[in-house]
Structure formats: structure tokens, C-alpha cells
């Protein structure tokens, strides 16, 4: 491969990330065009598409990736050959779809330093289509633009000032005014050399609309375009007088240009440093505590103040660094939409893909690794979960299937759900097949976790039970392994005839968190404060044994206890025990611990090596003395209490109903203060 040394390497990383952005735009627009394929294509969308392709072409040319350049060029020509009706034929749309796939493989080939696929066949096919459209004489003749855009992106600047604000003219007012011209596609505050702030608005101005001249009196400026209306090419047109943009031909549309791309590795370094600082401060804190008695009161006070200030600042620092790493899950969701289209076409099904909570933010690294597993789950839902149209009608369902993706933050975790309203998994049938395969005993019933184990055991497939879960075997194993490797957990819920839901719980990020440090069987452990509801000193009178398990009467309810010493095969405690109430009704549990040591700020290191990644443990942390403590995973521990059948019987419930809410002493408040 050609190689221009380090400079080039740095540049190529930018190339990849820019390509990703523009490819995403192309995919998004194509999908939108695909949905609205009967009417004329939306002019704004077409502009976005042309702009993205044009930029891709330019960028690829600059890094010498001529295959991608040719493909993007052909796609651009295909779009420019559209008839005035802007009606995109199915053939052209399909060609564009395969074009973007090919573009993607070219870019990926470059990334892997492999030979890119040949653009020849695609380019030939595209020009065949163009010729059949009859709208073009030659492929290179891109000056004969045949799209007359209904809108053109124009740039407006507004210089805010105290005087204007006094007159009631603020940014919001200007924004509203500009919105009357067309959609505002970007707003960028620009700090001027003299310290004042100028807002740049990119507005997709509708054809024929002009801003009233008196706006200029309110410090709004724009380049008059009446003069150059005719001579300026409509595509990629922006009257731009400000700073030069990063990429030639790139136009501020929906992405603002005051964005800095940072290598994730650098952020990791930063995060590690912050982590080390947190540990150092904990040491300092210890020393301050010990030195207290030997100091005068005023020195003591100063020290405490300084110490508290450092703590506060550190907290803001780590939150700041963490926020930088967060991106909206939408980035990945949009790519799933693309995959879904393929599956829907292959299987001849009509499937709606719904998103909820796509603004939920998650660590960039975590979500990047989630793409493949999510793709797999969505494909599975579409091809195996959703029934055929006829079957759905027979079952009294709407003929169109629905796959729903939900993302939400839940305490220190992010939860992503993939749900379909398809046939569901026939658990009895899976159990029979699993028994036949010797995976379980024939008398066993499958709990949800066991069901997942069966689905994920490599080689297991209910292939001859046709539509249900065929082919899920190996793929699901990979899905679960990938999720585990980043410290996440996978769960499945399925109702026969109603659908299947996969739930993925992920760590929000490399974590620094407040945690309660406690002791179990002489071993200190930590649990994130956010998972804790209350600490209850255990009183034998409140504890009832139900079969092999203990339950606790708590605030008028009965909740299962998880004896951590027993669970972790550690020596049982002697003396008074405490229960940490975790989870939310009805999925709650009391974790039984020996001693409470106090609240600390901890840096959680992932513990993902298969040798030590045990259920119930989400990571490890280094306490001030340099010793490593394990960090408990409340979610898994709650589930373990549920799945072992600790759900108490009504009789046990009655037996355990003692007036307890008064007895459970709320010591958490004292601890937090």
C-alpha cells in the first residue's frame, strides 16, 4: 500500500472517521427515500445525499482510494440524472443501496490495508441505468445539473449584544425569524477576536423567499444572493464568508464544525490519570485524618478545606472527562435500520423498526462493540422472530411485524432492549430438544437464564422446529460473549405467540463511582451506592426460612435474602449481619453482609478475563491501601435470588408478615451524610 509516513497515518484516521459520518448520512437519506419511494424525492434529502457523496468522493481522492472515488462519482451522476419529477426508480434506488455497501467495503478494505473491491461492475451498472433514464449524455458531464432544489442552504450571522438584548432582540428571537425562511440546519456560536460572540445559522431557505432588509438593523448579516442566484450551482451552495472548513466541499448542514475529533486512546489515558488522582487523593485523605491530632486547629481547618476543594474539583474533572466519551446510541441504531431493510427484503416481510430513547448516551467504546451483537439480535428478530404475513393474519395479529429497540439509563447501567412481536420461543419445545441433545435432564423446566444458556450453547439449534429459533445457536453464543467481554449481561424473555425480548445491560462507561465498602467473610468488597436503597441491620426475628432460603420482612413486604458469604463460599459471619436492600420492587433482594466499612469514591476496573469474570461481580477496585476489592453487581445478584425459586409462597408470606417497617432502622442517611 502507499504509505506517506506518520503524517499520512494521522490523516488517514481522520479520513476514516469523516467517511463514517458521511456514509451514515448516505445511509440515512437512502432509507428515507426508500420509505417515500412513490412520491417525488425530498429536495433537501437529495441535497444532503449529493453533498455527502461529493465529500466522500473528494476525501477518497485525497487519500488515493480511487475505487471509492469512482463509486461515489457514479452514484452522484446517477442522482443528477434524475428526471425533473425527482421520482427515483426502484432500480436506481437498489443500485444506490449496493453502491453505499460497496463504498463501505472499499473504506474498510483500506482500513485493513487490503485490496478494495473493483468498482467496475457497479459503475457500469450505474451508467446503464443513467442511460436508460435518458437524462444524460455522458457520465462526466456533471455540470448539467438537473435538480432544481426547492431550498438552498444560506448562512446568516447574528452578533448578539447587550444593547440588542435591551431592545428585546436575543438569539431566540433571531432563530424564530430565520425559521420563517426555512429549516435551520445548524447553529454555531463563534467567538470573535474581540471576545464577542457571533452566531452562525445555516438555513435551508426555500426558493423565492427573501429575508426582509430591516433584519440587518438587528445585527443580522447575510450575503445578498439575488445577484448570484443564476450563476451559482445550486448543489453544495452556501454563501460562506467565515473560517475555512475542514474538508473541501463540505458544507455545514446538520453537523457543526466546532467539533474536535479526539482519539479514544487519548481519552483513555486521561481517564486513567483521573483514576490515579482519585486513588492518590484517598491516600492524602487518610494522611490528613491521621495527622489531625498533631496540628493546630487553624491548620486543621485549612487542610480540610483544601482537601474538600480538591475532592470537589476532582469530581467535576472526572465527570467532564466521562461526558466527553459519551455518544448517543442513535449512532448505532441508525445503522440497524439499514440492516433491517435488507432482512425485510430477503424475507419478504413487512417490518416496522421502532426506536425509543435513542438519545440515551453511552461510552463510545461500549457502543461500538455493541454494533455486531445488536445487528445479530435485530436480524434474528426479523428473520426468525417475526412470522410470515399469512401466519400473522391467522394468529389475529397485524400483518406487519414490529421490532422495537429501546435504550434507557438505569442507575449505573445502560439498558438496551430488542423486542419483536413475533411468534415467541416455544420453551417446552426448546426444552425437549435440549433434553434430546443431552443439555438438560428431561424433567427440568427452563428458567429464562437456562433458556438463554441453551440458546447460546454452541451448536444448539432448533433447526427442525423451523421458524422459531433456527440458526440461533452459534450466533447467540458470540452475542453473549461479546456482551460479557465489556462487562454487560444478556437476558431473554419470551411469550409464546406474543414475541421475544432480549435485554442487554451495559456499563455506562469506565467507571468512577461512589460505593459502599463492606466486609463479607473477612474479605472487603464494594457496591456502587447508586444500586443501594437502604441498609438494614438484620434481626433474627425478621428473617424467615423458606425451604432453603431466607426471606426478610421489610416495610410490609417480603424480599429474598442473598447470603453473600454462602454465595461466594466464604466463611460465615459471626456477629450481627446487615442486609443491603437493592433493586426495585418486585425485583429486589437483601444482600447479607458482615460489616459496613463506609462510603468511598472508587475507580472500577473491569474484570472481564474468563478466569475471574464471575456472575455477581462487576469489577474490582483498588482501595487506598493498594489492596484490590471486588465490586458487586447488584443486578445479577438479584436475578440469582429470583431464579433459585425464592419467590415465597403465600403461606410463608403470611408467616413472615410482622410489623417491621418501624424496626428497620434507616442508617443509610447517617452514612451518606
Amino acid at each position: 500500500m502507499q504509505d506517506g509516513g506518520e503524517f499520512f497515518d494521522e490523516f488517514i484516521d481522520d479520513y476514516f472517521s469523516e467517511c463514517e459520518e458521511h456514509l451514515a448520512t448516505v445511509r440515512r437519506v437512502l432509507l428515507a427515500l426508500d420509505v417515500a419511494n412513490d412520491g417525488p424525492a425530498d429536495a433537501v434529502l437529495l441535497q444532503d445525499l449529493l453533498r455527502a457523496l461529493h465529500t466522500l468522493k473528494g476525501l477518497s481522492g485525497m487519500v488515493g482510494l480511487s475505487a471509492a472515488e469512482e463509486i461515489a462519482h457514479a452514484m452522484e451522476d446517477g442522482l443528477r440524472a434524475l428526471p425533473d419529477s425527482r421520482r427515483i426508480s426502484r432500480t436506481l434506488l437498489d443500485a444506490l443501496f449496493s453502491g453505499v455497501a460497496l463504498l463501505e467495503s472499499c473504506v474498510n478494505a483500506r482500513r485493513m490495508r487490503a485490496e478494495p473491491p473493483s468498482p467496475g461492475p457497479f459503475v457500469d451498472r450505474m451508467y446503464d441505468i443513467i442511460r436508460s433514464l435518458g437524462a444524460m449524455n455522458g457520465p462526466a458531464n456533471s455540470e448539467t445539473v438537473s435538480i432544481q432544489p426547492a431550498v438552498t442552504v444560506r448562512l446568516f450571522q447574528f452578533a448578539a449584544s447587550a444593547e440588542l438584548v435591551a431592545r428585546g432582540v436575543g438569539v431566540e428571537i433571531i432563530r424564530q425569524r430565520l425559521a420563517t425562511l426555512g429549516d435551520i440546519t445548524a447553529t454555531t456560536p463563534v467567538v470573535q477576536a474581540n471576545g464577542t460572540v457571533v452566531f452562525e445559522f445555516a438555513v435551508a431557505v426555500r426558493a423565492g423567499v427573501r429575508p426582509p432588509a430591516e433584519w440587518r438593523d438587528d445585527a443580522v448579516t447575510w450575503h445578498d444572493w439575488d445577484a448570484d442566484e443564476e450563476s451559482t450551482p445550486p448543489v453544495g451552495l452556501v454563501v460562506h464568508t467565515g473560517r475555512p472548513r475542514a474538508a473541501p466541499g463540505a458544507i455545514p448542514s446538520t453537523t457543526s464544525s466546532n467539533v474536535v475529533r479526539v482519539d479514544l486512546a487519548r481519552l483513555d489515558d486521561l481517564m486513567r490519570l483521573v483514576g490515579e488522582l482519585v486513588v492518590s487523593r484517598a491516600r492524602l485523605n487518610d494522611v490528613v485524618g491521621r495527622a489531625r491530632t498533631q496540628l493546630t486547629t487553624s491548620v486543621q481547618d485549612d487542610l480540610s478545606d483544601a482537601n474538600a476543594a480538591i475532592e470537589r474539583q476532582l469530581r467535576s474533572l472526572r465527570e467532564g472527562v466521562m461526558r466527553v466519551r459519551l455518544v448517543a446510541v442513535n449512532e448505532v441504531f441508525e445503522r440497524l435500520r439499514f440492516a433491517m431493510r435488507d432482512v425485510a427484503r430477503e424475507t419478504q416481510k413487512s417490518i416496522h423498526l421502532n426506536f425509543f430513547g435513542q438519545d440515551t448516551e453511552i461510552d463510545k467504546l461500549v457502543i461500538d462493540r455493541m454494533l455486531e451483537p445488536l445487528l445479530h439480535l435485530v436480524r434474528n428478530a426479523a428473520s426468525h422472530g417475526i412470522e410470515s404475513r399469512d401466519r400473522r393474519l391467522d394468529a389475529g395479529k397485524s400483518p406487519d411485524g414490529t421490532v422495537t429497540l429501546r435504550a434507557r439509563a438505569a442507575g449505573d447501567r445502560i439498558v438496551i432492549e430488542v423486542e419483536d412481536d413475533g411468534a415467541g420461543i416455544d420453551i417446552a419445545r426448546v426444552a425437549r430438544r435440549a433434553a434430546d441433545a443431552g443439555l438438560i435432564s428431561s424433567w427440568e423446566t427452563l428458567t429464562p437464564d437456562m433458556l438463554l444458556d441453551v440458546l447460546c450453547s454452541s451448536g444448539f439449534s432448533t433447526r427442525d422446529s423451523a421458524d422459531l429459533t433456527s440458526g440461533r445457536g452459534v450466533g447467540m453464543a458470540v452475542v453473549r460473549d461479546t456482551i460479557r467481554a465489556i462487562g454487560g449481561t444478556l437476558f431473554v424473555d419470551s411469550t409464546l405467540g406474543r414475541g421475544t425480548r432480549f435485554t442487554i445491560e451495559l456499563p455506562l462507561t469506565l467507571m468512577i463511582t461512589d460505593a459502599l465498602v463492606l466486609e463479607v467473610g473477612n474479605q472487603s468488597m464494594a457496591i456502587p451506592q447508586i444500586s443501594l436503597r437502604e441498609i438494614v441491620p438484620l434481626d433474627d426475628a425478621q428473617v424467615t426460612r423458606v425451604e432453603n432460603n431466607e426471606v426478610l420482612s421489610y416495610r410490609g413486604r417480603v424480599i429474598p435474602l442473598v447470603d453473600l458469604a454462602a454465595r461466594f463460599h466464604l466463611p460465615p459471619a459471626n456477629g450481627k449481619r446487615h442486609a443491603l436492600i437493592v433493586g426495585v420492587e418486585p425485583h429486589e433482594a437483601g444482600l447479607v453482609v458482615d460489616r459496613i466499612l463506609g462510603l468511598r469514591e472508587i475507580v472500577v476496573h473491569p474484570v472481564t478475563d474468563p478466569l475471574v469474570a464471575m456472575p455477581g461481580i462487576s469489577g474490582a477496585t483498588e482501595l487506598a491501601d493498594g489492596r484490590v476489592s471486588l465490586v458487586l453487581d447488584a443486578a445479577t445478584l438479584i436475578r440469582s435470588s429470583r431464579d433459585r425459586g425464592t419467590r415465597p409462597t403465600p403461606a410463608a408470606l403470611n408467616a413472615a408478615q410482622t410489623p417491621t417497617s418501624a424496626m428497620s432502622q434507616r442508617i443509610s442517611e447517617q452514612l451518606w451524610s
Partner: protein
């Protein structure tokens, strides 16, 4: 470090119950004193726990336990050999690790017949350094074998119990 001779690779020699083992220098990230070990409940018996090495928390394997020797008290010479393979970083506890040696590739002979089949998988071969017999370990295989024996891999993991 030892300068690589043509056709020879650099190894770290460690001792374990009186036997010398060689680990390829390229697989080794660092040699450390054994620090505080935190046992991990339900981990395989040969895993002594997790430990913190330069800001990372990694598993530590007792190679003695792994190879069927008795554990001994750690001394000043006990070392944690931090190895990296296939993206994993794991510490191996050995009695000592004091020597580097360049071993020519053609001086490494296949493991002798009749050795327990499990161990031959992570034994790349044997070599002689003067009079000493040296067992050359394959870190990648060692970790792989360790992993598969860690999870006893019944098709159904006992349900979190």
C-alpha cells in the same frame, strides 16, 4: 535484554518446584513482585485471585497449582510474570524469574512422547542449555487451556447458584 541471534528468540527462564521453564520474552509485558492478591469467589482452584499491576486489575494464576505442584509461601524471589496473549493480560506466579536466554529455534525439540497429553498442548518443546533441561511454554496455549478448564463447560452452566 539479550540481543536476538539469527534464528533464536529471547526467553525468560523461571523456576517452578526445581524445574526450569522458558517463556518467550515477546509474550511478557513485565516482571513484578507479587503484590496483594484478592481471592475471587468461585474462580478455578489454580487462580490465586486478582491483583493490581500498574493501574490494571488482572487475574493471577499459581503455575505451581496449575501444574499440580503444592503451593509454597511467597518469598522475595517469587515473581509475577505478566503475560499478554490474544488480548488478555494474565499474571503467572512462579518461584523465581532471574535469567534471560536466547534459545535457537532449532534447539527446541518436540515434547517427549508419553507426557500427559494435556500438558503437551502448552509445551512447545524442550531445550538444553548446557546441562539443564528446559521446558519451553506456549503462553497462548497455556491461557487457552487454562480458560477451557476454568469453565468446566457443561452445556448448561448451573444457574448462578
Amino acid at each position: 535484554m539479550v540481543v536476538k541471534a539469527a534464528g533464536a528468540e529471547s526467553y525468560v527462564l523461571c523456576e517452578l518446584a526445581g524445574t526450569t521453564y522458558a517463556l518467550r520474552s515477546d509474550d511478557i509485558e513485565q516482571l513484578e513482585m507479587v503484590g496483594q492478591l484478592t481471592p475471587v469467589p468461585n474462580a478455578p482452584p489454580f487462580v490465586d485471585g486478582v491483583t493490581s499491576v500498574r493501574g490494571r486489575v488482572i487475574p493471577a494464576i499459581s503455575l505451581r497449582a496449575r501444574f499440580g505442584f503444592d503451593r509454597v509461601e511467597h518469598t522475595l524471589r517469587t515473581r509475577l510474570v505478566v503475560v499478554r496473549s490474544e488480548g488478555r493480560v494474565v499474571g503467572l506466579i512462579v518461584d523465581n524469574a532471574r535469567e534471560f536466554a536466547a534459545i535457537p529455534t532449532d534447539a527446541i525439540h518436540p515434547p517427549p512422547e508419553g507426557m500427559a497429553d494435556l500438558s503437551t498442548r502448552y509445551l512447545r518443546g524442550t531445550a538444553h542449555l548446557g546441562e539443564r533441561l528446559i521446558f519451553v511454554l506456549d503462553v497462548t496455549e497455556l491461557l487457552r487451556v487454562t480458560e477451557s478448564s476454568a469453565t468446566p463447560l457443561p452445556p448448561l452452566l448451573p444457574s448462578l447458584g
